[in-house]
């Protein structure tokens, strides 16, 4: 089965038991608290050939996102908006469990959930990325390459995309005689908000934040909640085979707001630095 390759990591029973024992008393492996994120490191503008780029390390999960801006036709039904395309690839360098080839369903879900968080929060104001309404618009490609996997790729990838967008410079295209011309100038992207994705998983009856690969291999259910700068919810994805109680969902939603603020503060620093 090609699907769910990453979740086929077999965790030793001893390790699993140790994890469950710790979680039942409110602790985790590596001494982390249940609602504690791993260290988040962000480096921006590492790929000079891209219009924007970022490398994000969340614990040992590592993602590079790069932005390429072109022009093209708008999407059908969205004639007066620029096009935003977010894609992800878990590179075969990233783990012994990944094989080269087209993205599997986990990776496609990953890219779509990240995309939804950015798109629905309207981080990038696509209305401002139109050259000829209905005909020619900016096409913003955000490609994410996952370089090392250790759980919670959803958040790591989302932070990489947001960081790349926050630090990117869009080329200025103009229309001369019906043709698109790259003026060589750059502009700041039309940004409206900073979406932050927070992923939590349920192991037994306990909900933990920012799971490692090992914890994901033991999880019963997963929920990813994206909030915007106003701490409003913008996108949610419940994943994996198990479910949540209503109470658990409500608590998770609160956690996503609180933790989201903390991560947002860190992302905000990038814009401050950037100008």
């Amino acid at each position: 089965m090609s699907a769910s390759k990453r979740s086929t990591i077999i965790v030793e029973h001893l390790r699993r038991q140790q994890m469950l024992d710790l979680i039942s008393v409110g602790k985790r492996l590596q001494g982390r608290a249940l609602d504690e994120m791993r260290p988040l490191e962000i480096e921006v503008d590492i790929i000079k050939k891209a219009n924007g780029s970022a490398k994000v390390k969340l614990g040992d999960s590592e993602v590079v996102a790069g932005i390429k801006v072109e022009t093209g036709e708008p999407f059908e039904g969205l004639e007066n908006k620029g096009a935003l395309i977010i894609q992800a690839e878990v590179l075969p360098i990233a783990s012994p469990h990944v094989e080269p080839g087209p993205p599997d369903e986990d990776t496609i879900e990953l890219a779509r959930v990240v995309d939804r968080g950015i798109r629905e929060s309207e981080m990038l104001n696509l209305d401002k990325l139109v050259l000829v309404p209905g005909k020619i618009v900016y096409t913003v490609f955000v490609d994410c390459s996952i370089i090392n996997t250790d759980g919670n790729l959803l958040d790591a990838t989302s932070y990489a995309v947001v960081s790349a967008l926050l630090s990117c410079k869009l080329p200025v295209f103009e229309i001369h005689d019906g043709k698109v011309v790259d003026t060589g100038k750059t502009q700041d992207p039309p940004l409206t908000t900073i979406p932050v994705s927070i992923t939590q998983v349920r192991i037994g009856d306990t909900i933990i934040l920012d799971p490692t690969a090992e914890e994901e291999a033991c999880m019963n259910a997963r929920i990813t909640i994206t909030t915007n700068s106003e701490s409003c919810y913008a996108a949610i994805q419940k994943g994996f085979t198990g479910g949540f109680t209503i109470e658990q969902i409500k608590k998770a939603a609160e956690t996503a707001r609180i933790k989201g603020e903390q991560v947002r503060a860190k992302l905000q620093e990038l814009t401050n630095k950037n100008g």
Partner: protein, 247 residues
């Protein structure tokens, strides 16, 4: 191939300020991908490439396994944001060919017969491309293989030379590749004195060929010193001589 401007100025300086026999700046870091058995991040001029080695490990699918030797698999891939215009992430014909020549450049150095029925996977990911990425990839891959502890007869160092403004120059960059006259990537095992990759596109006279080839081999030797230094730094730090433990 037609040259639109001069790529070497009157002082003999190239577009990026180098002399004709100077390498671009090369940096190598060993052990950068935590999950991998061996890995290297190389910056070769503006090239930024991550190489990870997994193996020797079990072969999947099983039928690919060979009973008397290890299977070497190589994948050269460019990230969509690595080039001036966005590259489609699906593997192109160019990438497939480079994967093949890289594999064939590395294989002579590896003692694959030591690991029958197993596989070694070499994944080369180009995050930023700048002319000569295959050479940088091979050089980094060879170090990553050594980092993975695979038995090797020698390291493989690679470097290109080419013709720009009718002059033979070492290590041509992106601009020189696109606008210059000829490009000759070479991979070479310095101790075994064996060339494991040789390609050429462009016209060279007999003399130019000899000079170009010699220049490329000299470049390989310079790259080898950098490879060696990177490995030594990773494994032995600043210690150059074995110190005995005092008991």
């Amino acid at each position: 191939m037609s040259q639109t401007r001069s790529l070497i100025d009157k002082q003999g300086k190239r577009t990026d300020g180098r002399t004709v026999e100077q390498l671009r700046e090369v940096k190598m870091a060993v052990g950068v991908v935590k999950n991998a058995d061996g890995s290297v991040f190389i910056e070769f001029g503006k090239n930024k490439i991550i190489v990870a080695v997994y193996g020797p490990r079990e072969v999947h699918p099983k039928h690919m396994a060979q009973s008397d030797r290890c299977v070497l698999r190589c994948r050269y891939h460019m990230s969509p944001f690595s080039t001036d215009t966005r590259k489609n992430p699906a593997p192109s014909r160019r990438e497939v060919e480079i994967s093949k020549v890289m594999r064939e450049a590395l294989e002579p150095a590896l003692m694959l017969e030591d690991y029958p029925r197993a596989a070694i996977d070499v994944y080369v990911e180009v995050l930023q491309a700048d002319g000569g990425s295959r050479c940088a990839g091979i050089s980094a891959a060879s170090v990553a293989l050594a980092d993975a502890g695979i038995n090797m007869r020698d390291l493989v160092a690679a470097c290109a030379a080419g013709k720009v403004d009718d002059k033979i120059v070492l290590d041509i960059n992106d601009t020189e590749d696109k606008e210059g006259g000829a490009d000759m990537p070479v991979a070479y095992m310095p101790h075994l004195d064996e060339v494991t990759l040789l390609q050429l596109d462009g016209i060279l006279t007999r003399d130019q060929f000899n000079q170009c080839f010699d220049t490329a081999v000299e470049g390989c030797k310079m790259v080898y010193e950098i490879q060696k230094q990177a490995l030594m730094q990773k494994y032995f730090g600043n210690e150059t001589e074995v110190k005995e433990e005092v008991q």
